[in-house]
């Protein structure tokens, strides 16, 4: 393959209390794809992202981002956790949450400056949330909260974006906003990796897909591998989706 490999995962095994949730994963994600990770509940989709980002420690295997360990490539990567993973009653505003995206480039102790604030405002505008910048985050709807999270990742101006179920429980406006931004990112040559639940939208939204169920089932272009065979292997039941050409 001619393309650069953005993310490379080798023999990755992750366990919770000695029970493996990911088993011997080998995965190469080429630069510039918009990839969905699909699989049933408990397949280890979020765990895979967290292990790549070093949030969880694998018991075996290694991960590299453009050929180097993640710790050396922090600036290249942005992460959007599941919306439910944080306490939205935290005393802070939409703008402040987006500003957190700039903290990585600042490093320890240094404070955000005017240009960081400007970048945060621009990101808010991109996701259509500028009017809500001063709003306390618990006063936002679920879709708006998700857009704030996306804006926070955009501020990082990364090369690779990891998103954990960004379409979970959001309204139609938000879903369209998010997918348009993801497609723009791909157009700009970025790599976007999304944990995704809705199989119906995979062919429409993504160009690359990874089937995961504790082990990797398949990975590759949607048009080649998104078929009943792989779906059945992944979900364990006779799965039929009609793919519209």
């Amino acid at each position: 393959m001619d393309k650069n490999i953005a993310v490379k995962v080798d023999d990755l095994t992750v366990a919770y209390n000695y029970k493996p949730v990911l088993w011997d994963i080998d995965l190469e994600i080429p630069e510039g794809v918009l990839m969905a990770i699909v699989g049933p509940n408990g397949a280890g989709k979020s765990t895979l992202i967290k292990a790549i980002l070093g949030i969880l420690k694998p018991i075996a295997g290694s991960v590299s981002i453009y050929g180097k360990p993640y710790k050396k490539q922090l600036q290249l990567v942005a992460y959007v956790p599941q919306k439910g993973s944080v306490d939205w009653d935290f005393p802070t505003t939409a703008l402040d949450v987006v500003m957190m995206g700039t903290y990585g480039s600042l490093g320890w102790i240094k404070r955000p400056r005017q240009k960081d604030k400007k970048a945060a405002l621009e990101a808010l505008e991109k996701v259509g949330m500028l009017a809500f910048k001063g709003r306390q985050i618990s006063q936002l709807s679920g879709g708006q909260q998700q857009r704030i999270f996306l804006a926070r990742a955009l501020v990082q101006n990364a090369s690779i974006y990891f998103m954990d179920e960004p379409f979970q429980g959001v309204d139609a406006t938000t879903e369209i906003t998010i997918i348009n931004i993801l497609k723009e990112l791909r157009k700009a040559g970025k790599t976007v990796i999304v944990v995704h639940h809705d199989l119906q939208t995979v062919p429409e939204y993504f160009d690359w897909v990874t089937f995961l169920n504790v082990k990797k089932i398949a990975t590759g272009p949607v048009k080649d591998i998104f078929n009943d065979d792989n779906l059945t292997k992944t979900y364990g039941i006779n799965y039929k989706v009609s793919i519209q050409e």
Binding site: L74, S85, P91, Y103, G107, I109, R111
Partner: protein, 386 residues
């Protein structure tokens, strides 16, 4: 006021500031009970430190006891990680065990020193001015004042330096980790500050008041603001207010200073809990009442919009059709009239232009759940606020 009185109030105020800062983060991290655990389990650290140094105010003793605090946190996390018990159970297992070791050590070995269980639980702020710090024979003030002053200085320095790291790891530990700010380092840093503060404040105010000073001001501030910096400032303010008012309350009652300060903390919390503008109990009840009225109003307006027939819009028929009790129907009618949404002509109710637009917009919002177009309505109606 004599000198001793002023000194006691300054010590109490500094202790309350030093506690409010880590306390705010403990409350936001839902770890309030860990401060209870630390405050009790540092006791064996203090006792062993005292045997080693023979000085209750030695910095070595403070570090030794703070280290016991960290051990508590590690033990609690270790037990919790086994997955066999939940965090609160783990806390309940660890600190009584360590505390009781401290109690036994005191009873066996320290009968002749100023270290008894009463003082451990409640402290003795009233005696703090008697223990002076002498530098080259000059009296520079009470030792307790210097100890807590140094701890407070370190706490504030760390807070200013690592404010953004504390904020991001408290709000979103996953993001903090992915940005390269190790949540574990920040967590143990915060626990160390909480432990050192607890030890420093311990001799002055005792194990129970330390917990109250960490949690109550932060919990009170949480009800009043949606900004982390303001929450810290308010927590500090409530801490100092309770410290000083509590001192005078004790003076007036001739009772324990620690007990009086804790009482003040409780009273201030209760007051804010009831009367806080948006999160207070009364505000919440009022809002619920408003929302009920608004839902009724909307139902009523919708009925008018859907029915053009005159008999459907007669005042008396409306009551029957929507099947409301008389009182509620009257209130809704008045609310709609007051907002110029309906006109009543010969007992026939009709929507005004404003009422018609409002109903369409509201229904559209409820169906599409789209926020942007009803922004201007949010200020007038509770119903449409999140």
């Amino acid at each position: 006021m004599n000198n001793a009185q002023i000194e006691i109030q300054i010590i109490a105020s500094l202790v309350s500031i030093a506690c409010a800062i880590p306390g705010t983060f403990l409350v936001l991290r839902k770890m309030a009970m860990i401060s209870d655990a630390i405050s009790h389990s540092i006791l064996p650290g203090i006792v062993i430190g005292f045997f080693l140094t023979q000085d209750l105010n030695s910095p070595i003793l403070i570090l030794f006891a703070a280290f016991t605090g960290i051990i508590t946190v590690v033990l609690v996390e270790y037990i919790q990680k086994t997955g066999l018990v939940k965090e609160d159970t783990a806390i309940g297992l660890v600190f009584p065990a360590l505390f009781s070791i401290g109690v036994i050590l005191i009873a066996k070995n320290a009968n002749d020193v100023h270290l008894d269980v009463d003082a451990v639980l409640l402290g003795e702020l009233a005696f703090a001015p008697f223990d002076r710090l002498l530098i080259l024979g000059t009296d520079v003030g009470p030792k307790a004042l210097w100890i807590i002053g140094v701890i407070l200085f370190i706490t504030i320095t760390l807070l200013i330096a690592f404010f953004k790291e504390l904020k991001v790891s408290t709000f979103d530990a996953g993001l903090a980790a992915s940005l390269g700010f190790s949540p574990a380092i920040i967590h143990y840093g915060l626990m160390s500050v909480a432990s050192v503060t607890t030890v420093g404040a311990f001799d002055a105010v005792g194990a129970i008041l330390v917990v109250a000073l960490m949690i109550a001001p932060a919990a009170t501030a949480y009800l009043l603001t949606t900004d982390l910096k303001k929450m810290l400032a308010l927590a500090i303010g409530f801490g100092v207010l309770s410290a000083i008012s509590g001192y005078w309350f004790a003076h007036w009652l001739d009772a324990s200073i620690a007990g009086s300060i804790t009482t003040m903390l409780g009273l201030i919390f209760l007051f804010v809990y009831l009367f806080a503008p948006s999160k207070g109990v009364i505000a919440v009840l009022y809002r619920e009442k408003q929302q009920r009225a608004e839902v009724s109003l909307l139902t009523f307006l919708l009925h008018l919009k859907n029915h053009t027939e005159l008999e459907e819009r007669h005042v008396n028929h409306l009551r029957e059709h929507i099947n409301w009790q008389r009182v509620r129907a009257k209130a809704v009618l008045e609310l709609a009239l007051k907002n110029n949404m309906i006109v009543v002509d010969k007992n026939i109710v009709s929507l005004t232009k404003k009422g018609d637009t409002f109903t369409s917009k509201a229904i559209d919002y409820i169906i599409t759940n789209r926020d942007a177009q009803i922004e201007d309505m949010k200020d007038d109606f509770f119903l449409f606020r999140g």
